[in-house]
């Protein structure tokens, strides 16, 4: 009796907690509502199955509890029931899988015309690179990294010289335009994660990964490192600000290109 009651309370309590919980994900700021929809659908399907199974268990525990004279029946198999349950489960699985694959397809397919930017991780800060006037990111190699060239761009590549470099400062993005972020690390594996954008991708040294999204809401958002990267991991945060087109242009004007910052360092050295 008590056990059955506890089981019912677990089932009802779980549903109530889901409906009344004060904890929910942060308001979305990108085009990935699909991800939220998919996880909601999964919650509903698995929640239904969970409640059904726990309530059925509670009923059995109450109805067939040991009483003097009760005899269990002999029922080792029921082919028909087992097949129907299998098919029902398969239908539920397809209902969760199909939308998931649909969303994943969008996740990996970058739309044409997405502007490319680069994000570089290192222990324990975020840096960014924008393609500059030619619209192309120049070559880079971690072997080029030095105090005056923190992201390791190729000094001889003309595509690289006009690239805009933002080291350990906030990144601005224009609202409503698809962005493809190329991800690169020069030391260990980091993880690019902005909860409001819903997307997440690791930065792996030795290779370039990517992720894309379209910001739909202006404001500052925090970048968190989502892959354990050493003792400073919890402090590895950055800031991305989504702007209206005009403010974005104004911010962009103020940024220095790779060639400019190289020149500046040289002048500073000469002055010394």
């Amino acid at each position: 009796m008590g056990a059955a009651l506890i089981l019912v309370l677990v089932a009802v309590g779980s549903v109530l907690f889901h409906l009344l919980s004060p904890w929910w994900w942060t308001p979305i700021a990108s085009n990935w509502q699909y991800i939220d929809h998919t996880i909601n659908l999964t919650f509903w399907i698995t929640g239904f199955v969970f409640t059904a199974i726990v309530l059925f268990t509670a009923y059995c525990v109450f109805r067939f509890r040991h009483q003097p004279g009760r005899l269990a029946i002999y029922n080792p198999e029921n082919k028909k029931l087992e097949w129907w349950l299998t098919i029902g489960t398969a239908v539920g699985v397809v209902a969760m899988l199909a939308p998931g694959l649909f969303v994943w397809n969008q996740f990996v397919t970058v739309p044409h015309g997405a502007s490319e930017i680069e994000l570089v991780g290192q222990q324990w800060q975020w840096s960014f690179r924008l393609p500059g006037e030619d619209g192309r990111l120049g070559k880079s190699d971690p072997r080029n990294v030095s105090p005056e060239n923190p992201l390791g761009l190729s000094p001889n590549d003309p595509d690289a010289r006009d690239d805009i470099i933002i080291e350990a400062d906030e990144l601005h993005l224009p609202i409503g335009k698809p962005i493809k972020v190329l991800l690169r690390s020069i030391d260990v594996v980091h993880g690019f994660y902005v909860p409001e954008f819903r997307t997440k991708m690791d930065l792996v040294p030795g290779m370039v990964s990517y992720v894309w999204f379209t910001p739909i809401r202006t404001g500052p958002f925090e970048i968190l490192c989502a892959e354990l990267c050493g003792s400073g991991h919890s402090n590895m945060r950055g800031k991305v600000v989504v702007d209206e087109e005009r403010e974005y242009k104004a911010w962009l004007q103020k940024q220095k290109t790779f060639a400019q910052s190289l020149k500046q360092t040289k002048q500073a050295e000469a002055a010394r």
Partner: protein, 391 residues
């Protein structure tokens, strides 16, 4: 002994090999310390696993206390926290759960439940325990090594696992990897025993389709472990080489805090693939024995046969087979080719079907049974709720 035939003629086939005399210990030491008796080895395994598990338990208390009262527990800084979380995770998954379920329950229950007189290789079985104990001691010694135990996370992802930004990179990581290598060597000796005993040493008449589900769970988990642990083994050896000999298996060109390191051209993702090729089956290595035990508990305390025994066996086998093609669902956002995601999402959800079948059959076993709410039964029922919720 005279052979007796039960029921239909030929139900119990005649013995093909004569019974072998059991190993008889001659002294206290050979009986209780260097024992070749599976039951004693099981108890040794269980006590060792629970002891090191207690260390992990204390670590989890410390972590929660730090979260609850950060100022009172300020001696736990970021580095210590990472070390605690790493040791807690690794101990729980490998040194406690794997050892307790396979080394402890496996050794105790397999010979008794399949009607074997002992494990088929008692001496190797004994060695298995002692190598396991050595692995535990090497792991525990890392708490006392300079710099403390490794704080690389239980997944030990390179490059950070062996670089200076991670706590315990002097001695801790070397001891951790050595301990894992020892554990796998010890486990392989035990695992071969369990598999061969189940396949070769069953009592006459104990066909595979009559095995208790507990044995099916432990048996399948052992087969999975024997196939999955080698991936971790090579990963650990290669990472150890990267650390000690300066090879570049997992280490690309790296600039660490402004310093150019000598590594060139390795692949951090290769380690992640090796790790999860072991790491995902590991989930089932610790789950399947528990599934089996719960099946038998529910059946016993509901005074009914387990519902759909044959389906249960096939579900265990299906889960075991599928567990090898789902590993990269731990790596969707790891930077691997994202098109792999389609394959691994599909296989991952397919594995839900045999798992769901097992849950249905547990609760259907309760139907029209005679349910005795004993403590083991309450545990089994709570397991179903927890598993449906979390699994």
């Amino acid at each position: 002994m005279v052979d007796t035939t039960i029921g239909a003629a030929g139900a119990v086939p005649p013995a093909e090999v004569k019974d072998v005399e059991l190993y008889h210990p001659k002294s206290w030491v050979t009986k209780y310390v260097f024992s070749q008796d599976a039951k004693i080895i099981a108890i040794q395994y269980s006590i060792t696993a629970l002891s090191i598990g207690f260390v992990a338990l204390v670590l989890s208390w410390l972590m929660r206390l730090q979260l609850a009262f950060p100022s009172a527990f300020s001696f736990i800084g970021p580095s210590e926290y990472l070390q605690f979380i790493t040791m807690h995770g690794m101990i729980m998954v490998i040194y406690l759960l794997t050892a307790l379920f396979l080394g402890g329950f496996g050794n105790y229950l397999i010979p008794l439940m399949v009607g074997a007189r002992d494990m088929v290789f008692p001496y190797v079985n004994m060695l298995s325990y002692w190598v396991y104990l050595l692995a535990v001691l090497v792991l525990a010694s890392s708490f006392f090594s300079p710099g403390g135990p490794t704080g690389a996370g239980w997944t030990l992802y390179p490059p950070q696992a062996i670089l200076s930004g991670t706590p315990g990179q002097q001695g801790g990581i070397i001891l951790m990897l050595s301990s894992l290598i020892l554990f796998i060597i010890g486990f392989t000796m035990g695992g071969l025993n369990y598999v061969v005993t189940v396949l070769q040493a069953r009592a006459r008449g104990m066909t595979l389709m009559r095995l208790p589900l507990t044995v099916w769970g432990i048996f399948t988990a052992t087969v999975i472990a024997l196939l999955a642990f080698p991936a971790l083994f090579v990963g650990a050896v290669m990472l150890l080489f990267d650390k000690i000999l300066g090879t570049s298996f997992f280490m690309p060109t790296i600039v660490e805090m402004g310093q150019h390191l000598k590594y060139r051209g390795g692949s951090p993702l290769l380690f992640q693939h090796l790790f999860w090729f072991f790491g995902h089956p590991e989930v089932y290595i610790v789950a399947l024995p528990a599934f089996g035990i719960v099946s038998d508990l529910i059946s016993t305390h509901a005074r009914k046969n387990i519902f759909g025994y044959r389906m249960m066996v096939w579900a265990i086998i299906a889960i075991g087979a599928l567990s090898f093609v789902v590993w990269a669902h731990h790596m969707y956002v790891s930077g691997m080719n994202p098109y792999f995601g389609f394959f691994f999402a599909t296989t991952t959800l397919i594995i839900a079907i045999p798992t769901a079948i097992k849950v249905y059959n547990w609760v259907l076993t309760l139907w029209r049974g005679d349910i005795h709410l004993t403590v083991p039964m309450l545990f089994a029922l709570a397991f179903i709720v927890t598993f449906v919720n979390g699994g």
